[in-house]
């Protein structure tokens, strides 16, 4: 058990950022058009997240809001079970605690796992999947009702953490599915909302 934990610890320490590789697919399901759809999706959304962790008996559920600021930054706020806010932009990654105070997480986090999350997340949510070209194989699949984009890492560092990412949507991204290297699965469902108060409150983090 301890050895396994140690391995995990080591993986987390060396995990580094990466950007992806891109192999397009059927013409009927053009990736560029899908990108445009994602780019024009509503800025404010609510999300429900469910994490199925093998070592835990019950899934971990959380919910919150997501604000996309002109494809340049993302404010990700978990409100339940504990409030926390993360601001991701191409050149920064900031986290705020439940009292909206900036958290100085372990200093190196900024260079390691979080950079992976930030670059992948920002690219997916803002419809810049081209940017993932170097390190992911991108496949698309469309039905009458929705489209699917599947990202498979081809970079050794990302593979240590992530097995696969599936994105589903129609007018916007409806669901994100992460399968981690240890087969833990995170599913996030998005719903567009129009709430000026929440938008203002999330937007305030961008001003910092």
């Amino acid at each position: 058990m301890i050895n396994k934990l140690v391995r995990i610890l080591a993986i987390l320490v060396i995990a580094a950022t990466s950007t992806a590789s891109f192999s397009s697919e059927e013409a009927s399901c053009d990736i560029k058009q899908l990108m445009q759809t994602i780019q024009s999706q509503p800025h404010l959304q609510s999300f429900e997240q469910e994490k199925n962790i093998k070592v835990l008996a019950n899934p971990l559920k959380s919910s919150g809001y997501l604000l996309l600021a002109d494809q340049e930054a993302v404010v990700w706020q978990t409100t339940k079970p504990i409030k926390s806010t993360t601001v991701i932009s191409p050149d920064s990654f900031r986290q705020y605690n439940k009292k909206d105070q900036l958290v100085n997480m372990p200093a190196n986090a900024n260079n390691q796992t979080s950079q992976l999350i930030s670059s992948t997340f920002l690219s997916i949510l803002s419809g810049k999947i081209e940017q993932l070209n170097d390190n992911f194989a991108v496949n698309t699949f469309c039905t009458n009702s929705e489209w699917h984009i599947s990202l498979t890492p081809n970079n050794k560092d990302i593979l240590r953490l992530l097995h696969k990412v599936d994105i589903k949507g129609k007018q916007q991204i409806n669901q994100l599915n992460f399968v981690e290297a240890n087969q833990d699965i995170t599913t996030i469902n998005f719903t567009a909302i129009d709430d000026h108060t929440t938008k203002g409150q999330l937007g305030a983090f961008l001003a910092d």
């Binding site: 610890l9 080591a10 962790i53 926390s84 986290q95 605690n97 200093a107 390691q112 999350i117 240890n182």
Partner: protein, 776 residues
């Protein structure tokens, strides 16, 4: 003394010398090559000297490569290819830039095993001031973020993620470089000119090993040829050592051989016989033999640069032979004719070297002893042996007429007004010396440094923010723990230096292995938050079960004495990569260094060490440069004292006027040498000052030959002319050397000897004139 006894005496002396040399040979001849051995100790405390030596021995083995291709993937592939060929070359002790999966796990395991004792400074402060809530919040924040389930598995054993947090803070040390990242096990650094992959390694041999130099050089060349699209930069002592060795080799073979052939040809042409050549080489050989044996006996070793500089005594020693054979043209017993002149010449040279010997500078002392004893050896050979071998010398007329022509021109120039005008030289030299800065008195003068290699070093240093190799702190302690305590206690002051912009960063062992006192206090602090109440949030959210909590409690209780100590850390892959921080025991004291990164101001560092008895600040290059400046001034003063002493001696022997003319030649020549050096090199350094001693020695000899000759002999011009030509050949060519010190030495000799050669017949006429009324 009867003639036959003299040759026996010479043979007997050579035999005794041979016996001494044989003894030295049997007990091991030591030729020193380390430049640092040539300079005096800069540290008052021998401990600091030893610490520097130990650190530089480690550091000398490091090599760093930085490469850049058209894109990141190509850059990474190039770095992988280079790493592979380095590993397969058999040159490496370790490849430091690559940390394998197993090694990463070993590091993780080490810190995980001691997680309850390890807190970063900020975590300790937070835990003390705000309790465990911020840690719970941070953990939950991570747990509920989309991509963090791997950390969740750690929670039952480490709910506050202490091991993860500490490991993050440790790996952040020295990697605050915002433009650094690791991709595919390759470390990439970015700056304004692009992204470079950096490969660092430690060699398994000394950088002075010529085989390793050869192998590494061909490896780099092959790499460059196979990856033409990749720009590669490299640095390390081995590259400098290889360049220095290659340039020394080519200089010795071209300059050395060229001058030797020149001297031999000159001797044969001038004296039309091989006997003078044979005898002259015997006298030079005896001189060098005596010089070497005496220096080795006195110092226990001879430095290779002493040999290079010391070999310059040939230029002086050969004069005795030239005067002997030049006189042999006109008298069958030349020795009686020249004995007084060459004896005075020897005494004046020895006075000069004796002054040099009084400086507390091992390099100068060695050179002085080598030259003084060498001259005595050559002198004794001329006086004891030369007239034992019947020599018939017949110098060609064309040669004599050439030198006589020069003498006639000199006679016209020999006017008091002209001699007075020469006063301008020492005045200008004095003025220039007071205005020029002493920045050129650097230890780097002793090594040929190609600008390209130096530029690459600077680029790499800036790119990776590598620790300074010549400036650092040393800390010592009676025990390992005392040492760690001292390192720990100095941390706030070091952090203040960063805040003040003195340095960008620092590294020491206590950042990776906190002292036991600190670990105990961390454990006690953590123990306040390991009860079930404190951890209830994790249980409530289903992240940790009650059973896991109980087993965590018992593991915590039993691990109270599980301190992280220095030994296992040093054996870990992280410790091995940072092993240069650890100097082990020096004089029964555990010692370690604090490296400094990107030093912006030196003074506050020296000041910190002055005010803190636990810290030694080592600043070798600057200290040596300061010392060189100091000795440059000292040697100039010593030279002035020696000139005064010689002048007084000559005044007693002749009169002040003749003594003045003898001394005036070398004074003007030295002044011109100073002026030319400053005009060409922009400075006048210690090594040029050393050459002035020879200019004086030879210059005084020239004057003495005029003063001692009974009549205006054409053979004096011949002897002085030949002497000057050999000196040009021996040393003038040194001015072409790539090594700054040797270049400065050669240039001074070239200008000094040329001037003294042109001036001596002019002054010679004045000496004759001054003497004539007395003779009448």
């Amino acid at each position: 003394m009867l003639t036959k006894y003299r040759s026996f005496l010479w043979l007997f002396s050579v035999c005794i010398l041979g016996a001494v040399f044989y003894y030295q040979l049997n007990s091991g001849l030591r030729i020193e090559t380390n430049i640092l051995k040539l300079v005096p100790q800069t540290e008052a405390d021998p401990f600091a000297e030893k610490a520097f030596e130990k650190f530089s021995d480690n550091n000398f083995k490091k090599v760093i490569f930085a490469m850049k291709s058209d894109n990141e993937t190509a850059t990474i592939n190039s770095a992988k290819a280079l790493s592979l060929s380095l590993e397969q070359s058999g040159l490496l002790e370790s490849l430091d830039s690559h940390i394998s999966q197993d090694e990463q796990e070993a590091i993780g395991k080490l810190y995980f095993n001691h997680r309850f004792h390890l807190l970063s400074n900020s975590d300790r402060k937070t835990l003390r001031q705000e309790g465990n809530q911020p840690f719970i919040d941070a953990t939950l924040q991570m747990v509920y973020s989309p991509l963090s389930s791997q950390l969740i598995a750690l929670l039952p054993n480490d709910p506050y993620l202490l091991s993860y947090r500490y490991l993050q803070s440790v790996t952040a040390i020295n990697s605050t470089h915002s433009q650094r990242k690791i991709v595919d096990d390759i470390t990439l650094y970015s700056n304004q000119s692009g992204t470079y992959a950096v490969v660092t390694a430690t060699l398994n041999t000394s950088p002075f090993d010529s085989n390793s130099q050869q192998k590494l050089s061909s490896l780099v060349t092959e790499f460059q040829q196979s990856k033409t699209e990749t720009e590669i930069l490299y640095t390390g002592a081995i590259f400098y050592a290889q360049h220095a060795a290659a340039s020394a080799k080519s200089e010795i073979s071209t300059i050395g051989l060229g001058s030797l052939i020149g001297v031999i040809v000159l001797l044969i042409v001038a004296f039309k016989s091989v006997t003078p050549l044979f005898l002259t080489l015997t006298s030079l050989g005896a001189g060098i033999f005596l010089g070497f044996t005496m220096t080795h006996a006195f110092f226990g070793s001879v430095h290779v640069l002493t040999l290079v500089f010391g070999a310059s005594l040939i230029g002086v020693a050969v004069d005795y032979s030239f005067h002997y054979f030049a006189s042999a043209n006109e008298t069958p017993k030349p020795l009686t004719k020249i004995l007084a002149a060459i004896s005075l010449g020897l005494i004046s040279s020895v006075i000069g070297y004796a002054a040099l010997f009084t400086t507390p500078f091992p390099g100068l002392q060695q050179m002085a002893l080598f030259c003084a004893t060498g001259l005595i050896g050559a002198f004794l050979t001329v006086t004891l042996l030369f007239d034992q071998v019947p020599t018939k010398v017949n110098s060609p007329n064309w040669l004599l007429s050439s030198f006589m022509g020069l003498s006639r021109i000199s006679q016209k120039l020999s006017h008091p007004v002209f001699l007075l005008l020469l006063l301008a030289a020492p005045i200008s030299a004095g003025l220039l010396l007071t205005t020029v800065n002493g920045n050129n008195d650097s230890i780097r003068q002793l090594q040929a440094i190609p600008p390209q290699l130096h530029q690459q070093e600077k680029t790499i240093q800036q790119l990776v923010a590598a620790p300074a190799t010549n400036q650092f702190f040393v800390v010592k302690g009676n025990t390992e723990q005392e040492l760690l305590n001292k390192l720990h206690s100095v941390t706030p002051e070091l952090s203040r230096l960063i805040e003040q912009g003195v340095i960008d960063d620092y590294t020491h062992l206590a950042q990776f292995v906190p002292p036991l006192k600190e670990q105990t206090s961390n454990y006690q602090l953590v123990s306040n938050f390991m009860d079930s109440d404190s951890l209830s949030d994790f249980v409530d959210l289903g992240l940790v079960t009650h059973e896991q909590l109980r087993s965590l409690g018992s593991e915590f209780a039993t691990s109270e004495q599980e301190y992280l100590t220095l030994k296992p850390w040093l054996q870990s892959p992280l410790g091995q990569r940072l092993s240069y921080l650890w100097l082990d025991q020096i004089d029964q004291q555990f010692s370690s260094i604090i490296t400094l990164h990107n030093i912006h101001h030196i003074e506050p560092l020296a000041k910190l060490a002055q005010n803190n008895p636990n810290l030694y600040f080592i600043n070798k290059v600057d200290k040596v440069s300061d010392m060189f400046s100091e000795y440059r001034e000292l040697t100039l003063i010593m030279l002035s004292i020696a000139i005064t002493a010689i002048f007084l001696l000559l005044s007693i022997k002749y009169n002040t006027r003749i003594a003045g003319y003898i001394v005036w030649g070398p004074v003007v020549a030295s002044s011109l040498a100073i002026i030319i050096n400053i005009l060409i090199n922009g400075s006048f350094n210690l090594f040029s000052t050393l050459a002035l001693y020879l200019v004086f020695g030879i210059g005084i000899d020239y004057g003495l030959f005029y003063a001692e000759s009974k009549d205006r002999s054409k053979y004096i011009s011949l002897a002085i002319g030949l002497s000057a030509i050999t000196t040009f050949l021996s040393f003038g060519l040194l001015s072409l050397s790539e090594t700054p010190a040797i270049h400065a030495f050669g240039l001074t000799m070239l200008t000094g000897i040329l001037t003294v050669f042109l001036l001596s017949p002019i002054l010679g006429h004045q000496i004759y004139r001054a003497r004539e009324p007395a003779n009448d």
